[in-house]
Symmetry: C2
Subunit: 474 residues, 2 copies
């Protein structure tokens, strides 16, 4: 594709004005490289529209000219979904200036925000109104809600509150031709035709650009109980999870698993992180119960369930946080795993899911297979076991050849994805497709499903200008 016509570029600049264009190489650089450093793209400039009408005008012009548009949020995705290709012909459209909270309605338990709002600021606005916006993930201080919705983000509270898609009441979306679709508003129930909004959530900007959303809120959390539990195996985790959901009356809001190897890396590399137990154990669970009732005795409930599990020999040991500092320290053991892994050299990341009951057999087969291929590799398994989602990551052999290890990424990923697929699982539980997993989507999806996605893409973006080269090509 050739560089866009200079007249088009001038018209696009005129739409957003001086304040809405970034065009120096240094200022553009952060928009042109993805978070993991896998992709490097080019663009004439970054457009930063200030409102939905400007987005509409930009798309109308680009659609008429057949020029691709790449929507860009906080740039924290793992699959290169917000990075343009290297042709220099695609326009990057950043939503960062559209960052207003348009309305918050505590009685209706809803909030309407623009796409460029940082996730943490949405959480804060809800909290200020004595409400909870439950979406929570590592990048929440910089990711933007538009990106969270476009990638259907998951995170640590999916078990209780669902993925980003489950939190949407309505959307404002600009279509490829510039038409503005608005289903914003705080209706809890509206059964009038096809569920269009769900189609845009997780579409990674390939069907339209989400510019605002009305989101569900919940009662604010007033009581928490957090425990770190030592267990023998992933089988025990699955069993305990099933019991805990019932025993806690579904107040289980997080259930994170990590292998001994993950805890060791964190303790080794991250200042202030300490193994909560005196002896070593094969696996650990971090669980949290939460309630909106301040006086609810969640600690007592959790201690009783764990004491019972200890008595029955189901678990090996457990600690329950007795204050906020201890709670934060336990969460740090989980949250710092990616950072600690990065300090150990190269890694091959996976984001698989399998039905919860199939997790033990998946783990056994995948671990065995990887070590057959790379006997010195280190399995740093962790993830959201409550959702059947493991970040089944592999670190390079200690002190070994990082580049040689990384060169085998595709082969190892295919192998792990094959095993997940054989057990009814997914190769992308929460990270999406972007550029990185397009091949896997073709490899594992049902042909009927792929053809349906292509039909929808053709119907809604006939000129293929919406984030071309991501997710699927019509």
């Amino acid at each position: 594709m050739n560089a866009p016509d200079p007249k088009l570029l001038a018209a696009l600049r005129a739409i957003v004005g001086l304040a809405g264009v970034i065009d120096t190489p240094a200022d553009m650089a952060p928009f042109l490289r993805d978070y993991r450093g896998l992709y490097q793209g080019k663009t004439p400039f970054i457009l930063r529209p200030g409102n939905v009408d400007e987005v509409s005008k930009i798309l109308a012009l680009c659609n008429a000219a057949g020029v691709g548009v790449v929507p860009h949020g906080g740039n924290t995705g793992y699959c290169g979904g917000a990075t343009p290709d290297d042709s220099g012909a695609q326009i990057v459209l950043s939503l960062s200036r559209m960052n207003k909270v348009r309305a918050i309605e505590p009685l209706n338990y809803s909030i309407t925000v623009e796409a460029g709002c940082v996730l943490a600021s949405v959480q804060q606005a809800a909290s200020d109104a004595e409400r909870l916006f439950p979406l929570s993930l590592g990048a929440e201080g910089s990711c933007q809600i538009g990106g969270n919705l476009s990638t259907n983000a998951g995170g640590t509270a999916v078990l209780r509150f669902g993925m980003a898609r489950d939190l949407v009441l309505g959307l404002e979306v600009v279509m490829a031709d510039g038409a503005i679709l608005s289903t914003l508003g705080s209706l809890r129930k509206d059964n009038t035709g096809y569920d269009l909004k769900s189609l845009f959530v997780g579409a990674e900007g390939t069907l339209g650009i989400i510019t605002a959303a009305t989101l569900k809120l919940f009662p604010k959390v007033a009581a928490s109980a957090t425990a770190y539990i030592a267990i023998d195996s992933i089988d025990v985790a699955v069993q305990l999870l099933g019991e805990l959901r019932s025993a806690s009356a579904d107040r289980l809001t997080a259930c994170e698993i990590m292998k001994r190897s993950a805890l060791e890396l964190v303790v080794q590399h991250i200042p202030g992180c300490v193994d909560p137990f005196e002896t070593s154990h094969p696996w650990y669970l971090l669980i949290e119960l939460q309630s909106a009732q301040a006086n609810e005795p969640l600690d007592a409930l959790l201690e009783q369930v764990l004491a019972d599990a200890l008595d029955r020999g189901v678990i090996r040991d457990a600690v329950v946080a007795t204050n906020g500092a201890q709670r934060a320290a336990l969460w740090k053991l989980r949250e710092c795993i990616p950072e600690a892994m990065a300090l150990e050299g190269e890694q091959i990341k996976h984001d698989i899911s399998v039905p919860i009951a199939a997790m033990p057999v998946f783990d056994g087969e995948a671990g065995k297979w990887i070590l057959q291929q790379m006997p010195a590799a280190r399995l740093i398994t962790f993830g959201h076991i409550g959702d059947g989602n493991l970040h089944y990551n592999v670190s390079q052999p200690a002190g070994g050849d990082g580049a040689g290890f990384l060169a085998r990424s595709a082969e190892i990923e295919h192998g792990v994805h094959d095993i997940a697929h054989r057990h009814g699982g997914s190769f992308s539980a929460e990270h999406g497709i972007g550029q990185y997993k397009r091949g896997e989507l073709q490899r594992y999806s049902d042909p009927v499903e792929l053809e349906m996605m292509r039909s929808i893409k053709r119907a809604l973006d006939p000129n293929n200008i919406m984030n071309p080269g991501k997710l699927i090509t019509a």
Copy 2:
């Protein structure tokens, strides 16, 4: 449209065999008239396929011949969505023989059922495995899960568990050309492309036929507390609802409102129904808290909240059920409203929703407007106030002219829908579109939204054979 070619009819009979055809007028009659008696259709015969392959073969033949297919479940819908037109050219396809529970996975909190399973039997299968399937509505003893999904059914537990769409993990769907799309399976997280399943839920069979579904389960209810509360106004209900969600830590599973007029009709007409209070009050709420923890003191919690509300003068009176029989008696006051209304003569039904905070002003304006049009009409308002959804129904004047009253249905409905629309509301909160509300869909929907729906319909059903004449026409 002409009657289908006899060769096609013979081929369709051959697919399902003798056991799969209903063709005597008496046996066909119940399939050809909708639940409310608004529509009467014709068909050469009713096909009752026994498995998904037969459904696939039927659709492939009908698609090639351009013959419309009308999927049919328990025939309990309010909008004529399962009734064929009167041309005699459309084939009715009943899913009733496909009624197996294919799998139940308690550890994964999921169940896979065929479309013809009656809702109550899905609830029972979950309960037998110590789990809860929360979808619950008046027709649950005869409606089928395929119809519940195709119409995105609501009911009394939406407040806590969402609509039918929110309960779906995966679907098996037969497309217009006979292709089978299967996303069945118990994955909790799978972020690989467009959300196709949500598109079929609520599409009323116009995009494909749902033949099976994997559904979410929850911990089984072990404790309930139920109260019937007398209040001054709908404003109080909105306020109390907001407080109750927080105070009960979101264990509020139902919040139903009814006007004095609705209670009076029930007490008058339904044997065993008694006004719980000695004096009359303007409005009533039926609320229920539920928990999966058997020993949870929900009664005490509810009594405390209500005592506090009484002290503050927020509510006028309240009774809390102390046993199962009392609980059932309170629910009967709510559930028998439609039956009691039917005994009072003709009625004009509405199924509107507005943002919860807008309910008082909607109620004020709509009530005033209706009584201006029909001074002797009776407003029998009730509904799911927790979801902003009122069945804003109107009974004919006592002893008046039923036919004359009914003749004004369209005018009254438009007026009420106009008022809901002006307050950001919907003309169909949970009943869908079918045949009955096609005009309203055109009247109230955003043109961009309508065009997107038409594009999707054209893309997935190019020959317009899927339930033609329902919801939308490409």
